[in-house]
């Protein structure tokens, strides 16, 4: 059951991370493309958010994107164009294949591994606790009725005293 919960957590985390909403059938917009490209002025921002003042690099790259959209190219074609001209560094995030897949999966794998480790430790503790309580039950069951009655009375008196507000 706990393994299934870990698997569900891993799948939930990965799916929400990998989910992207595709606007099927709609024309390509500048922001759709620009949000997947990185401005090459060194700011490390996505193209439509470059915060360097009057960035010439951003202006030139943005003009290129707009021209390609006006020529009727789709987002994927435009991305491929920039990839061919600038290399992988122009993509705002790593691709989800090959070595780069490690970038995406490692954080979730680490969390699930941590969860697994915590589960093993806690399971050992909880198992230990239930063994302890079995031991205690054995001790109680082996007591004589008169002895058990004496302890029960004492327990009752002390609880009344405690809960009575004294």
């Amino acid at each position: 059951m706990k393994f299934i919960l870990s698997l569900v957590l891993f799948v939930f985390l990965s799916v929400t991370a990998f989910t992207s909403v595709e606007r099927v059938g709609a024309a390509t917009t500048f922001d759709e493309v620009a949000s997947e490209l990185s401005c090459q002025c060194g700011c490390l921002m996505v193209l439509n958010a470059c915060d360097m003042k009057e960035c010439k690099v951003q202006f030139n790259m943005s003009t290129q994107v707009k021209n390609l959209i006006n020529q009727g190219q789709e987002k994927e074609e435009i991305i491929r164009y920039f990839l061919a001209n600038y290399g992988e560094v122009v993509l705002a995030a790593p691709t989800k294949k090959g070595f780069n897949l490690m970038a995406w999966l490692t954080p979730f794998a680490a969390i699930v591994a941590g969860l697994g480790f915590v589960y093993l430790i806690v399971d050992k503790w909880v198992l230990h606790r239930s063994q302890d309580s079995e031991e205690q039950d054995k001790i109680v069951n082996s007591m004589k009725p008169a002895e058990l009655s004496r302890y029960s009375e004492r327990l009752k008196k002390e609880l009344e005293q405690y809960e009575g507000g004294s």
Partner: protein, 670 residues
């Protein structure tokens, strides 16, 4: 006079070396006088760093360009607030700021404990002074803030115009208070490992320091986000820049530490984990300081290329090797006093909370350094920026929000099925109802609905917890609800201060979700008198304006903002032109309401008199700032001392006076 400043740094180094050695040796041999002498060395370091800092402040305010640092970061037209802010505008000054803040905090720490914890203090001092030695050595060897110029210029370079914002005054200072603040619990943790005093005493002693550091790190991050929002002109507030990540990671592990120590205090568990967390948190503060100076990762926040990277890596290595070695040596003594009773318990949710927070810190760290790893392994440069961090961290934070809702209402040790149903049925129902309602009104994306639904769930669980407490007081003592609420909070500030912080964090989550998932943007080119619409607003371009201030020239465009035909206000986005910079800075115009921000950016103007404008609607973004303030209020409540604690401290002090001090100085290995 600047020779005095330099001499103050030299003396700081010498007193730090002396104090660290004297404290440690005095503790080993039981020489009380030597320990007191080491304490005096700490006071001297505090005074000397204050003198050095005062001299640099004087040089900056008086615009004395004989100092290279002043010539680099001050100009004749710079206003007083930015003359002061120039102190931390460059490498040398920011290192001095670290040293000064640490010096003052060390003085406060030693003074606070002049009658208590006498067994720990002799080992706290060497750790704090050891850090001081590092920063002072850097300044004296490679980054002297008092270096002179043979030919002083008549005018300085001034601060980068992007930094001429009040954020430059508040953001770095609050961040540094947060970074340096974590040195104190770290030092006490090391002292606890050295002396073998491994109970929760070191945690109780440093609880307020941890809250203090967390408060200022939160405030520093919020100031940074707000500054980015109003200054940078892209409509966002967090770009996942490596240096932003560097201040976020210790915040995450520090938050995990704040929660985890409650388990050690209450149940005597997670002792090793708490040590790991404070080591990680302090190490990440040094790592952040390293990132801004090493040049290994490019960032708009970086101080520029310097040769300090290897020194910081070496220091970081020393901290990690030293602290983890101590931890390893004491591993057997750090066994917990109790164990978990059940998977479904408050302790388990705290563990899960820690796992998620540390997981988020790891995800952020991993994304920040992955470009270096990729280049080393494949020889290919790649970029890891906002799209990666948003996609990876969002689901992690959603799980965290869920845990925030579960934890307050789940029982310690073991929660029954009845307990779970009783506590979570109504909050879950509210969350689902809100999700349904959002879908009906047109918010159909799952990843837009889910954060709001989870936020509603958490708000309800917090509300249920508060209502139960207030209702109980009302029935027991006959207090009115408002009085019962105030007394409930005042009688347990730590717990209810924490709930207020959670409340604030949910507001932040709502603000972020609204701004990111419901944003609207529109570009337009307008001639005078023309209009554009965005959302429920109509913008009418009414003309350009140009004027000069003491420091810069302004060119702006005026827009009347209408809603339902009614004029709301005039907004004037523009650009500022600075004398020594050919490129202007963008000054946005923002209209803020509780529902949304209307955000205008003047993209440019054309020869025909038209202007290019970008308009955005950022829904709910103001709740980010409100939530930040609420979180800080909650931290202040949790921080506030109470009478019970004061009585307990007096009892501990009175008991300690009867204790033979020489016996308490039992270092590791004796």
């Amino acid at each position: 006079m600047y020779e005095i400043g330099y001499a103050a740094l030299v003396l700081t180094l010498l007193f730090s070396i002396y104090g660290a050695g004297a404290a440690y040796y005095g503790a080993r041999k039981g020489y009380r006088e030597l320990i007191e002498s080491a304490q005096n060395a700490v006071y001297a370091v505090g005074a000397l760093t204050t003198i050095a800092s005062s001299i640099l402040f004087y040089a900056l305010i008086s615009k004395d360009y004989t100092l290279e640092y002043v010539a680099s970061y001050v100009s004749n037209t710079q206003e007083l607030v930015y003359l002061i802010a120039a102190f931390w505008g460059g490498n040398q000054g920011s290192l001095l700021l670290w040293a000064w803040v640490l010096g003052v905090m060390s003085v406060v720490t030693v003074w606070q404990n002049k009658e208590e914890h006498r067994d720990l203090i002799p080992y706290v001092i060497p750790v704090l002074l050891g850090i001081e030695i590092f920063f002072t050595t850097l300044m004296l060897s490679t980054s002297n803030p008092f270096a002179r110029l043979a030919y002083p210029p008549l005018e300085g370079n001034g601060l980068n115009p992007l930094l001429l914002n009040m954020g430059m005054f508040f953001h770095p200072t609050t961040l540094y208070l947060g970074y340096v603040g974590f040195a104190i619990p770290f030092a006490f943790a090391m002292a606890a490992l050295i002396t073998g005093q491994l109970g929760d005493r070191w945690i109780k002693v440093t609880r307020r320091w941890t809250l203090f550091a967390w408060f200022f790190l939160t405030l520093g991050n919020l100031f940074g986000a707000q500054w980015a929002y109003v200054e940078l002109g892209w409509g966002g507030f967090w770009a996942w820049d490596p240096v932003e990540n560097a201040s976020f990671m210790p915040w995450l592990t520090g938050t995990a530490f704040l929660h985890s120590v409650m388990i050690q205090e209450r149940r005597g568990m997670l002792k090793v984990w708490n040590m790991v967390l404070i080591i990680a948190t302090f190490s990440l503060t040094i790592f952040g300081t390293f990132l801004t100076r090493s040049g290994v990762i490019s960032s708009v926040h970086a101080f520029g290329q310097s040769n300090l990277g290897p020194y910081f890596m070496g220091f970081l290595g020393l901290i990690l090797i030293g602290s983890l070695s101590l931890l390893f040596f004491r591993m057997d003594d750090l066994e917990g006093d109790n164990e978990l009773d059940s998977f479904v318990s408050r302790e388990s949710t705290f563990l899960l909370n820690n796992l998620i927070l540390v997981g988020a810190a790891f995800a952020t760290f991993w994304g920040t350094v992955f470009p270096i790893i990729s280049e080393a392994v494949r020889g290919t440069k790649i970029t890891v920026s906002a799209p990666f961090f948003n996609q990876v961290n969002m689901p992690i934070f959603l799980v965290l929000i869920f845990i925030m809702g579960v934890c307050p209402l789940i029982g310690w040790r073991r929660a029954s099925k009845e307990n779970l149903i009783r506590n979570f049925l109504y909050p879950a129902a509210v969350g689902l109802l809100l999700a349904g309602g959002l879908f009906v009104v047109g918010v159909t994306e799952f990843l837009s609905i889910l954060p709001f639904a989870l936020s509603a769930f958490v708000l309800m669980t917090i509300g249920v917890e508060w209502f139960r407490g207030v209702n109980a007081r009302h029935k027991l003592y006959g207090e009115g609800f408002l009085i019962a609420l105030l007394r409930l909070v005042w009688s347990n500030k730590r717990r209810y201060g924490g709930y207020i912080v959670h409340f604030g964090v949910i507001m932040i989550a709502i603000g972020i979700t609204g701004a990111y998932s419901l944003k609207t943007e529109k570009d337009a080119r307008l001639n005078k008198g023309e209009q554009m619409t965005i959302g429920s607003y109509t913008l009418e371009y009414i003309g350009q304006n140009s004027y000069s201030t003491r420091s810069y020239d302004v060119k702006s465009a005026g827009f009347n903002v209408y809603q339902d035909g009614k004029l709301l206000e005039k907004l004037t986005p523009g650009k500022n032109f600075y004398p020594r910079d050919p490129n202007p800075s963008t000054e946005v115009a923002i209209r803020t309401t509780l529902k949304e921000d209307l955000y205008l950016i003047l993209a440019g103007w054309n020869d025909d008199g038209s202007v290019d404008i970008k308009a955005l609607i950022n829904p709910l973004v103001v709740w980010l700032w409100i939530g930040g303030v609420v979180s800080l209020v909650g931290t202040t409540v949790a921080f506030w001392p109470d009478a019970k604690e004061k009585r307990r401290r007096v009892t501990v002090r009175n008991t300690a006076e009867d204790f033979d001090d020489s016996r308490s100085l039992q270092p590791m290995g004796s």
